[in-house]
């Protein structure tokens, strides 16, 4: 990772000094071990701020929506999931491919700080490093080595596109693609009866505090005006009453149907751990079953399945019971 980080800094300095771009979007290291956050670099001398480590999880693509960058050419770094999000923004005609210079960073998985905490490895932790498939947790006076996948985000373990599908310049070698089955949780829920499922989701939705982090982080949520913010008509009341929460989550997920790139950012940022990926993946699974396999964000030229049709489509609403 250090090698890629050096390349990142060098390339960033190069494209800034040559005037190819006005801005570089990357990640910067914070004071604490899990903090790697988006940074905006306009001066080549600041390229040294860039970092690439096991916590560079935020997707940078959505920052392109900010008006102040519209007239500028921006270089940015994409992991596989970020690239899918960018393509979705392209498909939605919200970003201009010409204005972005994309560095691809193949990614074999990032570390979930909550998993580190649950394993009790967080106290006194200074940093985490990776060599091959092994993580090293570095403390003041000791080190601990362990197998990396134990600590990867669930979304990384099921990642199907670790190598960016869109880029101008590749940093590093493509990594092997070896995803775990992603529909396990969905199938498990499908196997339950309708009341058990209701109880499950009721429990999840009732925890929602409506912080809107899932919406705000989502690369497919790019409406200029969101239905949930409208005051007239007020579709979503501000009280976190259960039916309002249900309305929010059903609508949010359904609006993503056929456009969700399954980057898992919504579930990552949720402070109360609502399993939002299961909602998204149910819709992905149904689209695959009813209208043929479709991976949002892979090809921005394709038409998303819910804004098109085929005269021979099944009338799945006639099913006596939804699957």
């Amino acid at each position: 990772m250090k090698e890629i980080m050096q390349k990142m800094r060098a390339e960033a300095a190069r494209v800034l000094s040559s005037g190819e771009v006005d801005l570089v979007l990357g990640w910067e290291k914070g004071d604490l071990w899990w903090q790697s956050y988006p940074v905006f670099i306009e001066n080549e001398k600041k390229a040294e701020l860039l970092t690439w480590d096991l916590f560079c999880v935020p997707n940078l693509a959505k920052y392109l929506l900010e008006e102040i960058w519209h007239k500028k050419r921006v270089a940015l770094f994409f992991k596989g999931c970020d690239a899918l999000g960018f393509n979705q923004l392209m498909q939605d005609k919200r970003v201009d491919r010409e204005k972005a210079f994309i560095f691809a960073v193949p990614c074999s998985g990032l570390v979930d700080p909550q998993k580190v905490e649950r394993a009790g490895l967080h106290q006194g932790l200074l940093r985490v490093e990776r060599l091959g498939d092994e993580l090293t947790f570095v403390y003041k006076d000791r080190e601990k080595k362990t197998a990396a996948p134990w600590f990867y985000y669930d979304k990384c373990l099921t990642c199907r596109y670790p190598n960016p599908v869109v880029f101008d310049f590749m940093l590093g070698e493509p990594v092997p693609v070896n995803p775990r089955e992603r529909f396990t949780a969905v199938k498990e829920l499908e196997g339950q009866n309708v009341d058990a499922r209701f109880q499950y989701w009721q429990r999840q939705f009732s925890r929602c505090i409506r912080c809107f982090a899932c919406r705000n982080v989502c690369p497919a949520c790019s409406c200029r005006e969101c239905i949930f913010d409208l005051t007239s008509p007020r579709w979503l009341g501000k009280a976190t009453e259960l039916s309002e929460n249900q309305f929010y989550h059903i609508t949010r997920a359904f609006h993503m149907a056929g456009r969700c790139v399954d980057c898992g950012e919504c579930a990552r940022v949720c402070p109360v751990q609502i399993p939002l990926t299961s909602l998204n993946r149910k819709l992905i699974k149904d689209i695959d079953e009813l209208y043929g396999p479709y991976d949002a964000g892979v090809d921005p030229q394709k038409v998303p399945p819910l804004v098109t049709f085929n005269p021979g489509d099944p009338a799945a609403f006639l099913e006596s019971k939804g699957v």
Binding site: N216, K238, V272
Partner: protein, 341 residues
């Protein structure tokens, strides 16, 4: 000073829950929050901070305070009954107790918020931290991880038992009713409290010096730090909703035909509609003004108004911000100094 064996805690909770509703940190789907105790509850005392602070109990995310009906031209208003205040909050960490005292400054000042006042009659049983997290910084604000002066009863974790000290009359009365469950600790155990307090204070590696921070923060309105902080902000409400001291709320109506209710609910200065006016004018037009507002309020405006910081260093926003916007960076920018122990 008394003590209770940890093995007897379920007995204690069962007893307390019979006296009054008992809220304590419980785990559901991996998320730890304060919830009413019931038989078989998955109590998690050992975790440091709950996801939501106990603010969510004394100042719930939404509550109805008025019902209304309208028939013909007659409007009838029925205020909601004041909420029950005789409940017990068990296992509140000292920073969160301090958070409640910050809320007191807002809601118990004239005009007193009667709903809050009623809920504030609760009994708070605080549990000292033995080992604060790396993202905790309560000591920066003169708080002590091992002691909560505003609690009714203070507990210290002595491994197999909890040391028990009542701090108020209310706490004393409750303690007296528990003679069957509480024991007298040995002198060595009593002494260990001092040790626990000291260790907790020193484990917090970073020693903060906040001299002059609130004064300097006042002049930070045009500081360049906001430009670098706001750009990555997603504009979500995690930091404000998870904050034990954030207290801004909105008022809304829910109506169905001839009847309806007026409710109050949390609101967040991170949202763009927070300051949006009916005319369409927004005095905080971009995320920059919103981010600045949050930190200025905590470090400058609130201290100027109430004499104490609007932050208690619980670290929730530091841990949960999806893009790691970190209040400690702002404190440093305002001249807060850090030395490592």
């Amino acid at each position: 000073m008394q003590e209770i064996q940890k093995a007897r805690l379920p007995q204690l909770w069962e007893y307390l829950a019979k006296k009054a509703p008992l809220y304590l940190p419980q785990q559901e789907d991996g998320v730890i929050n304060f919830a009413p105790w019931q038989e078989g509850a998955r109590v998690k005392l050992e975790s440091l901070n709950t996801v939501l602070p106990p603010k969510s109990i004394v100042f719930p995310q939404w509550e109805t305070y008025l019902h209304f009906t309208q028939k013909a031209r007659e409007l009838k208003l029925t205020p909601t009954k004041e909420p029950e205040g005789s409940y017990i909050l068990f296992g509140v960490r000292p920073c969160d107790v301090a958070g409640i005292t910050v809320l007191d400054r807002v809601f118990l000042q004239d005009p007193v918020d009667v709903f809050y006042e009623s809920r504030r009659r609760c009994t708070i049983i605080s549990l000292a931290c033995n080992e604060p997290d790396i993202s905790c910084f309560c000591s920066a604000f003169g708080l002590e991880p091992g002691f909560a002066p505003a609690a009714d009863i203070m507990l210290w974790d002595g491994d197999k038992f909890l040391l028990w000290q009542s701090l108020t009359e209310k706490g004393e009365t409750l303690t007296h009713s528990l003679t069957d469950l509480l024991e007298v600790p040995t002198p060595a155990e009593t002494e260990s409290v001092q040790c626990l307090r000291e260790t907790a204070a020193t484990v917090q590696e970073q020693k903060w010096g906040l001299d002059g921070v609130k004064e300097r923060a006042k002049d930070m309105f045009n500081a360049p730090i906001w430009d670098s902080l706001y750009r990555r902000c997603l504009g979500c409400g995690i930091c404000t909703y998870l904050c034990p001291t954030c207290h801004c709320f909105d008022i809304g109506d829910f109506s169905r035909g001839e009847r309806g209710e007026r409710f109050r609910c949390w609101d967040s200065c991170m949202y763009k509609d927070f300051t949006l006016m009916a005319s369409g004018e927004n005095p905080r037009p971009t995320q920059k003004e919103r981010v600045r507002q949050r930190f200025m309020h905590k470090l400058s405006y609130f201290p100027a108004q109430h004499g104490l910081y609007g932050c208690v260093g619980c670290g929730r926003c530091v841990r949960k911000c999806p893009v790691n916007i970190d209040i400690t960076q702002v404190i440093k920018e305002a001249g807060g100094s850090i030395s490592c122990a």
